[in-house]
């Protein structure tokens, strides 16, 4: 059209950076989330390598015990609060509006605010390393240890940690509100709730968890801050306070947070499996109800982290914890039967999804052991727990995130990722992961406690620790391959086209990358697979 005015190219390139810094486009914000999360993933990964290097042999070779405390505390803090949770929120940001056929999130400027709080929180945490040492009381920051100002380990760094976590939590809460309003109010015509893709459903349940749980840890952090800085007595038993109270409030958030960290990864896997099996998801509604059940049950199990305190009602929390295995098992059946009889395309996203399935299964089973009270009394605070949580959060969430990254990278950038490098990365990561964390089961059973910088050379833990360290560096090598693949694919990856995977959901009905307004036109939405319907003629299925 002659009257259409195009923005001059020169102006566009000059303001490209400015445009990224001030964007309210959910896709750009989503990509910013992903980049920011990967930066902190690599920082957290370096700290993990530090931990593994120190533990490779008995004795203190590389760091002091105090520095070791900082390393494992900040490793967990970065990985949980600045990598897994925001990474999944970032994918949600990019994918959810596209999958429900919306032009953007409901509150685009609040969306930008949610994002920018994260690097700010991250910088505060990083600053703590140069202001007299970071937080070092573990990522759980249990009182009274975290309140003891006499300890060098809990100086200014602990306060910065509290402030950063409140910021990051506020970011999560605002993000959750944004997701929920977007899902409830911005769906395209025809996109009923029970036609929403599973990824959207998992982000919905996650958002409810964030909305209900995150403010509670904010309250715990604020009480901790008041105790530390203004002479409060909340968690100080010597003045009538209650140290167990901190644990209760902390875990009331931090157990649901476990599901915040895994449900969207389950959503990603549930997008990948049907596409690469050429079948619809088996039991779509059962999956949704299982997700909701996990979310609801997630609020009733927090005290299983506190069995050994003797201050919680053991049978209730034990039974509720076992109950969570039921909806999780339902999902396992959903996934396995989705692949059953399908035409499996063994591409990299599917490999990572299979990695998720197998590793998360192990993480579920070794978790069920600890749900049993007598077993937990033996295993509490040993390396068994470290093995369990990494099988869930690394074997589960990180494999899911990697799968999602390979799956949606073509949509986000318009380029395919390299399959050969991708598959090599998967194999290396899978082997490295199991070398690192499988021996920790054995170490836990042998009685090795977590959070120790040194151990006796005669305890029989030497070989397994060395093996775990070797595995840790194998994971690092696989991440090097990943970075190489991203670089390679951005520079010279094959052009993806709109729908390289012949997928099902609406994000594949627009260009790669999508325009700022997302869709030129939407296909008719008559099922949870509108793009499949459009490709294969009108659907007859109606939910």
């Amino acid at each position: 059209m002659a009257t259409t005015t195009l923005t001059p190219v020169a102006t566009r390139s000059r303001s490209a950076l400015y445009a990224w810094l001030t964007t309210t486009d959910h896709k750009k914000i989503g990509i910013l989330y992903v980049i920011n999360s990967f930066i902190f993933f690599f920082i957290g990964g370096l700290l993990a390598l530090g931990v593994r290097t120190e533990l490779a042999q008995p004795g203190l070779q590389f760091v002091t015990a105090a520095a070791y405390n900082e390393m494992f505390t900040m490793h967990a803090t970065f990985m949980i609060f600045l990598f897994v949770i925001p990474m999944l929120a970032g994918f949600g940001n990019y994918i959810v509006p596209l999958q429900i056929g919306a032009p953007d999130m409901a509150f685009p400027r609040i969306n930008a605010l949610s994002f920018w709080m994260l690097p700010l929180g991250g910088i505060l945490l990083l600053l703590s390393f140069v202001t007299g040492g970071s937080a070092a009381a573990g990522w759980t920051s249990y009182a009274p240890l975290s309140e003891d100002r006499a300890l060098a380990a809990t100086g200014t760094g602990q306060d910065l940690w509290i402030v950063a976590l409140v910021l990051i939590g506020t970011s999560s809460i605002l993000g959750a509100i944004n997701f929920l309003v977007t899902m409830f109010k911005m769906r395209a015509p025809g996109m009923t709730l029970f036609r929403m893709p599973i990824m959207v459903w998992t982000v919905l349940v996650t958002s409810v968890l964030v909305l209900m749980a995150t403010p509670v840890i904010t309250s715990a952090l604020i009480m901790l801050f008041i105790d530390r800085n203004y002479g409060g007595a909340f968690f100080d038993p010597s003045r009538g306070g209650d140290a167990i109270l901190y644990q209760n409030i902390f875990w009331f958030y931090s157990h649901p947070a476990v599901y915040v960290m895994v449900l969207p990864a389950m959503g990603m896997v549930s997008e990948i499996l049907p596409v690469f099996s050429r079948k619809p998801l088996f039991g779509y509604k059962a999956f949704i109800f299982a997700t909701a059940a996990i979310g609801a049950l997630g609020f009733s199990v927090w005290a299983h982290h506190m069995f050994t305190t003797g201050a919680v009602y053991l049978p209730f929390f034990s039974i509720m914890t076992f109950l969570i295995a039921v909806p999780t098992g339902v999902k396992m059946f959903n996934w396995v039967f989705t692949m059953w009889g399908g035409q499996i395309m063994l591409k990299t996203p599917l490999l990572f999804a299979l990695g998720f399935l197998s590793m998360f299964l192990i993480g579920g089973i070794n978790g069920a052991f600890s749900a049993s009270v007598p077993v937990d009394f033996a295993l509490h605070d040993t390396y068994w727990v470290v093995a369990h949580l990494h099988y869930v959060l690394f074997g589960g969430s990180v494999f899911g995130i990697m799968g999602g990254f390979y799956y949606w990278f073509p949509k986000m950038t318009g380029r395919m990722m390299n399959e050969t490098v991708g598959k090599t990365q998967f194999v290396l990561m899978f082997i490295g992961f199991n070398l690192t964390f499988f021996p920790m089961h054995e170490l836990g059973l042998l009685g090795m406690p977590r959070r120790i910088a040194d151990y006796s050379s005669t305890a029989g833990w030497n070989d397994l620790n060395l093996l775990a360290t070797f595995g840790g560096f194998t994971i690092a090598a696989s991440m090097g391959l990943f970075l190489w693949n991203v670089f390679l694919s951005l520079r010279s990856g094959a052009v993806a086209g709109d729908d390289p995977w012949e997928a099902n959901t609406l994000e594949w009905a627009t260009t790669s990358p999508p325009p700022a307004y997302n869709f030129d036109h939407l296909p008719e939405i008559r099922s949870e697979r509108p793009v499949f319907d459009a490709r294969h003629g009108r659907a007859v299925v109606d939910h």
């Binding site: 509150f107 929920l180 911005m186 015509p189 995150t214 715990a220 009480m223 909340f234 997302n518």
Partner: protein, 231 residues
């Protein structure tokens, strides 16, 4: 049509024009957002209340003794004149009544903007803000009086819970006053009408929430009978 459609957004790509989302009826985006935000605030205060109940339940005596006088702390509801003629001032009951009244004036403002009565809407909004500010001033005065009597943030669990709970409530009143002031300003420049008043509705919901929290706090801190140690 140009080949690169990403560069320019033609008229028909106006998101709202091209995609008729269900904007008719139902709850509006800002109001739903505010309700969800209030949900998160309920959970935040839930954490603080849980701490209060837990500490209170495990204490042998509540309120505990004031180290300055060796008498139990006492939060006074009514202003009283003692036998020696000294008036003990307590603003809390007056402040409570004013805050409850402000909820009514706030709702009145919402009803008035719904019927396009902008003058009464603005007046009611101004009254609400004034009541909120008076509440805050009374709270500050009360803090000063209580502090002089020995009740401080660092004077044990009683002071810590009292100041944390009422302090965070006060901070929320302050936030609410700012929110209402923005609404008042936007109303004065004519941004609201019976067809467009989501921000008024949202701010009003928030104000009611803050009011309800205070009623709970007032009942807990001032009215709920304490317990004496069983000897």
């Amino acid at each position: 049509m140009t080949t690169d459609s990403h560069l320019a957004i033609p008229e028909e790509h106006n998101p709202l024009a091209s995609m008729p989302h269900d904007t008719h009826g139902g709850i509006s985006n800002p109001v739903l957002g505010m309700l969800l935000f209030i949900t998160s605030e309920v959970m935040f205060f839930g954490g603080l209340f849980a701490a209060y109940f837990s500490i209170r339940a495990s204490a042998a005596q509540w309120p505990p003794n004031n180290p300055q006088t060796n008498e139990p702390f006492h939060l006074q509801v009514l202003p009283i004149v003692s036998t020696d003629g000294i008036i003990s001032v307590s603003f809390v009951l007056i402040a409570t009544i004013l805050l409850v009244l402000s909820s009514f004036s706030c709702q009145y403002a919402v009803w008035k903007i719904r019927s396009d009565d902008r003058t009464r809407f603005l007046r009611a909004m101004a009254v609400t803000i004034a009541l909120g500010i008076v509440f805050l001033l009374m709270q500050v005065t009360d803090y000063a009086i209580l502090g002089s009597e020995g009740l401080t943030l660092s004077s044990g669990t009683y002071g810590t819970t009292y100041y944390t709970l009422t302090g965070f409530h006060g901070a929320h009143v302050f936030g609410g006053v700012i929110m209402l002031a923005v609404v008042l300003y936007r109303g004065m420049v004519g941004q609201f009408s019976s067809k467009h008043y989501d921000a008024v509705e949202g701010a009003s919901l928030y104000w009611h929430f803050v009011d309800v929290v205070w009623i709970l706090l007032f009942s807990l801190l001032y009215l709920l009978p304490g317990k004496t140690p069983t000897t």
